[in-house]
C-alpha cells in the first residue's frame, strides 16, 4: 500500500500545477454550498433570534422592513419619524412597556441610539465598566463601539456632523462616556447609547446657552421687553452637557411632538400583544405596528429563495467542474500511456496500476475535502458577520 501511495503522491507533486488547479476547483465546488448553507443558517438564526426577541415595533406608516432593520440592527435609512406621544399612548394602554428609539446619528462610524433605561433591561445589557446612563449628555458604549472609538468611562466622544455644507445645521455634541457594556454578540455591541433626550439635543430640538436674564449676557441680547428677551447671533450654544450647565439646557416645544424613529413595545403577555396590535388596525392610523419576526421571515424567505438559485447555479457549475475534472483525468491517463506501459513492463500488475491512478484521484479529492472543511470552519467563525454586513449594508 505504501508504494502505491508513494507513487501517487510523487506523481501529484511532480505535476503540482495540474494538481493544484484540480484541488482548487474541487475545493470551491465542495466549499460553496456548504458555506452558503452554514452561513445562511447561522446568520438567519441570529437574525431570527433578534427579531423574535423584539415582540412588536411601532413606527410611522411606511416600510416595515426599514423600520425593523433600523430598530433591530441600527442599519439602513432612519425610518420616518413618529411622535413621542406614541410612547405615552402605548403606556396608557397598560398592555405593554414602551421603549423609545431615536436613530440616525453617528459617532464616528458607530450608530448612535437614543433610548430609555428600559432598553438595557429588555436586551439584558449589563455594564462591564462604569455605570448606566443617568443624565443627558452621557453615553454608554457597546463593547465593539468602545473598541472602535478607543473610549472608556471618563472619556468623551463627539457626534458626527450631519453635513459639512449645511452651516445652519446642528453642531457636533461632545458626549461623556460613563459606561461600557459587556459584549453580547448582537448589534448592541456596535452602538453608542444615549438617553433619547440627548438625541434630541444632538438634533437641535433642545439646547443650552447662557442665561439671557443674567447681566453678563447683555452682549447676546438683541432687545428685551417686560415679557420677552430676543437673543442675537452672538449667543453661544453649549456643545457639551455637563452637570454645571445642565440647568441652562431646555427644549422648545412640547415633548409629545418630538421625533422618534421607533418604539419597541414589550407586551405583558401574549394576549396583551394581540390586543395591542388590534388597536392599530385602522388604515389611517398615524402609527403602524409591525412584528419584526414576520418581517425578518419575509426577508429571509427572499434570501433563501435567492439561495436556491445560487445552489442550483453552483450545482450546475459543480457538475461541469466534475465533468471537466474527469476529462482531465481521462486525458491524463491517455497522455500517460507510455508511463503506464513502462509500469506494466517493469512488473506492475494491471490492478496495481489502476490502484495508483485511483489513489491519485483519491488524494486530490481528499485534499479538496480537507481544504473545503478548513474554509467552512473559517466561514463558521466569521461568516455570519460577513453575511450581516452584506445583507444589512445593501438594504
Amino acid at each position: 500500500m505504501k508504494d502505491i501511495l508513494y507513487l501517487a503522491w510523487r506523481y501529484l507533486v511532480f505535476n503540482r500545477w495540474k494538481t493544484g488547479i484540480l484541488i482548487a476547483a474541487l475545493t470551491v465546488i465542495i466549499f460553496l454550498p456548504l458555506a452558503l448553507e452554514l452561513v445562511l443558517d447561522r446568520s438567519s438564526e441570529r437574525l431570527r433570534a433578534r427579531a423574535a426577541d423584539t415582540p412588536l415595533l411601532f413606527g410611522a406608516p411606511g416600510s416595515a422592513l426599514e423600520l425593523s432593520l433600523g430598530a433591530l440592527y441600527f442599519s439602513g435609512e432612519s425610518p420616518a419619524p413618529l411622535e413621542y406621544a406614541a410612547v405615552a399612548e402605548l403606556g396608557d394602554t397598560g398592555l405593554a412597556t414602551a421603549i423609545p428609539l431615536h436613530l440616525g446619528y453617528r459617532v464616528g462610524l458607530q450608530p448612535l441610539v437614543g433610548t430609555s433605561p428600559d432598553y438595557f433591561r429588555f436586551r439584558n445589557l449589563a455594564v462591564a465598566a462604569g455605570r448606566p446612563l443617568a443624565l443627558s449628555g452621557e453615553t454608554v458604549l457597546g463593547a465593539a463601539a468602545a473598541q472602535a472609538l478607543d473610549a472608556a468611562p471618563g472619556d468623551g466622544v463627539v457626534t458626527a456632523p450631519e453635513s459639512v455644507f449645511d452651516v445652519t445645521g446642528t453642531y457636533p455634541v461632545r458626549l461623556r462616556v460613563v459606561g461600557v457594556l459587556a459584549p453580547t454578540g448582537t448589534p448592541d455591541d456596535e452602538a453608542v447609547f444615549v438617553d433619547v433626550r440627548t438625541a434630541w439635543i444632538i438634533g437641535g430640538i433642545g439646547h443650552g446657552h447662557e442665561n439671557l436674564e443674567d447681566p453678563t449676557a447683555s452682549g447676546s441680547v438683541l432687545k428685551r421687553d417686560d415679557s420677552n428677551i430676543v437673543a442675537n447671533a452672538a449667543l453661544v450654544q453649549y456643545r457639551e452637557i455637563t452637570p454645571e450647565n445642565l440647568a441652562e439646557f431646555h427644549f422648545h416645544g412640547a415633548i409629545d411632538g418630538f421625533p422618534l424613529s421607533a418604539v419597541i413595545a414589550v407586551p405583558a403577555d401574549g394576549k396583551s400583544g394581540v390586543l395591542l396590535e388590534g388597536r392599530y388596525q385602522a388604515p389611517d392610523s398615524p402609527v403602524r405596528v409591525v412584528r419584526p419576526a414576520e418581517v425578518m421571515e419575509e426577508l429571509l424567505a427572499t434570501v433563501f429563495t435567492v439561495r436556491q438559485y445560487v445552489l442550483a447555479a453552483v450545482a450546475l457549475v459543480g457538475a461541469a467542474t466534475l465533468a471537466t475534472t474527469a476529462l482531465v483525468f481521462l486525458l491524463s491517463i491517455r497522455l500517460r500511456r507510455a508511463e503506464i506501459r513502462t509500469m506494466t513492463r517493469i512488473g506492475a500488475a494491471p490492478g496495481r496500476v489502476a490502484a495508483i491512478l485511483g489513489t491519485e484521484i483519491l488524494l486530490v479529492l481528499a485534499a479538496s475535502v480537507l481544504l473545503a472543511g478548513l474554509l467552512t470552519a473559517a466561514a463558521a467563525t466569521w461568516g455570519d458577520e460577513m453575511f450581516r454586513w452584506l445583507l444589512l449594508s445593501e438594504t
Binding site: G94, L135, I229, V230
Partner: protein, 316 residues
C-alpha cells in the same frame, strides 16, 4: 398467577385508568400565578407627592424622597447615582406643570413615570415668567406655567387620584386598599380646602401679596387676586424692590403678604409699617422637620385665621 389475583389486578387496572382519565381531563388547568407580595418602591419629586403616596399606599408601598434637607425640590439637581436610584423604582411620581426641571434631562423609564397633573392642563396657571427667544422660531416660554399645584387642595386630590390609579394598575389585587386610602385622603383634603376657603374670606377685597411666585394655585382657587414679588425669606429685598413694592401698593393696596418662611425681622417690621402684615404660609414642597403635610397646613391655617384683614389695613 392465581385467578383471584388476576381478577383483582384487572379491577385495579380499570379503577386506576378511570382515575387517570379524570386527572387527564383536569390536566389542562394551569396553576394561577402567585400574587406578588413585594412592596412597591415609589420615588417622588417633592414632599406632598411622597406624603400622598404613603397615605394611599400604606404598608404596601415604600416611598422615598432622597432630597437633602434644606434643599428646594423644585431646583434640586440629583447626582447621577441618585438618578440611577430613581431608575430602579417601580414608580416615579412627577408633579407635572414643569415642576422639578431635572426630570427633563434625567434618563428615566417613561413607563414608570406618573405625571400626577396629567389631564389637569386646563387648570394650570401662567407663571408670568420672562421668556426668551432666539432664532427663527421666535418667542417661546420655558417656564410658562406655575408648578406648585398641590397648594390647591382640590388639585392635590386630583393628583392623589392619579397616584392611586398608578398603584392600582401595578397591584390590582390591592385596589380596594388603595381606594380606601385615597378616600380618606380626599376627605382630609376636602376639609382642608373648606377651611382655607373660610380663612381667606375677605382677603381679595383687602389685597394680597406674595413674597415669591409659588402661590398661584392658591390664588386661583380662592380668587385672592394677589400679586407676587420675588423675595426670599432670609434675604433683604434691597432698595429697588422696596421701591417697586411701594409703587405697586400705591396702585393696588394690599394688607397681607404670604411668605414661604419667616422673613427677616427688619423686613417684617418694614412691611408692617407699610400696612402689610407678613404671614408665613409654607407650601410644604420639602419635608417638614416635624409632622406631615396636613399638620403643616394646620399650622398655616392657624396663622391665617390670626390675621383680621378687615382691620389689618388700618394698623399703619
Amino acid at each position: 398467577m392465581s385467578l383471584r389475583m388476576l381478577i383483582c389486578g384487572c379491577a385495579s387496572v380499570l379503577l386506576g385508568l378511570t382515575g387517570c382519565q379524570r386527572a387527564d381531563e383536569e390536566a389542562g388547568t394551569a396553576p394561577a400565578p402567585p400574587i406578588s407580595d413585594a412592596k412597591l418602591t415609589v420615588y417622588a419629586v417633592n414632599y406632598p407627592l411622597a406624603w400622598m403616596a404613603r397615605r394611599i399606599g400604606g404598608e404596601s408601598v415604600r416611598v422615598l424622597l432622597p432630597i437633602p434637607e434644606g434643599v428646594d425640590p423644585a431646583h434640586w439637581q440629583p447626582s447621577p447615582e441618585t438618578v440611577l436610584e430613581y431608575q430602579r423604582a417601580d414608580l416615579v411620581l412627577l408633579n407635572g406643570a414643569g415642576y422639578a426641571g431635572w426630570i427633563e434631562f434625567a434618563s428615566l423609564p417613561p413607563g414608570r413615570l406618573v405625571d400626577t397633573a396629567r389631564g389637569l392642563e386646563d387648570r394650570f396657571v401662567a407663571a408670568g415668567d420672562v421668556t426668551h427667544s432666539h432664532g427663527p422660531a421666535g418667542e417661546h416660554d420655558h417656564a410658562d406655567v406655575a408648578s406648585h399645584t398641590w397648594v390647591d387642595p382640590d388639585l392635590a386630590a386630583r393628583q392623589a387620584r392619579a397616584i392611586a390609579g398608578a398603584f392600582g394598575r401595578l397591584r390590582p389585587e390591592l385596589g380596594d386598599d388603595f381606594r380606601q386610602g385615597l378616600a380618606l385622603l380626599e376627605t382630609d383634603l376636602a376639609r382642608l380646602g373648606e377651611r382655607l376657603a373660610a380663612a381667606f374670606r375677605g382677603w381679595p377685597d383687602a389685597g394680597v401679596l406674595y413674597s415669591h411666585p409659588v402661590y398661584q394655585y392658591l390664588d386661583a382657587r380662592y380668587g385672592l387676586e394677589g400679586w407676587s414679588m420675588t423675595w426670599e425669606p432670609g434675604e433683604d429685598p434691597g432698595p429697588a424692590e422696596w421701591e417697586a413694592l411701594a409703587a405697586r401698593i400705591a396702585d393696588k393696596p394690599a394688607v397681607v403678604m404670604l411668605w414661604e418662611g419667616e422673613p427677616l425681622p427688619e423686613t417684617a417690621d418694614r412691611l408692617r409699617r407699610m400696612g402689610i402684615e407678613p404671614v408665613v404660609f409654607r407650601t410644604g414642597a420639602a419635608a417638614p422637620a416635624a409632622g406631615d403635610f396636613l399638620q403643616l397646613m394646620e399650622e398655616n391655617l392657624a396663622r391665617l385665621v390670626e390675621v383680621d384683614v378687615a382691620r389689618a389695613g388700618g394698623d399703619h
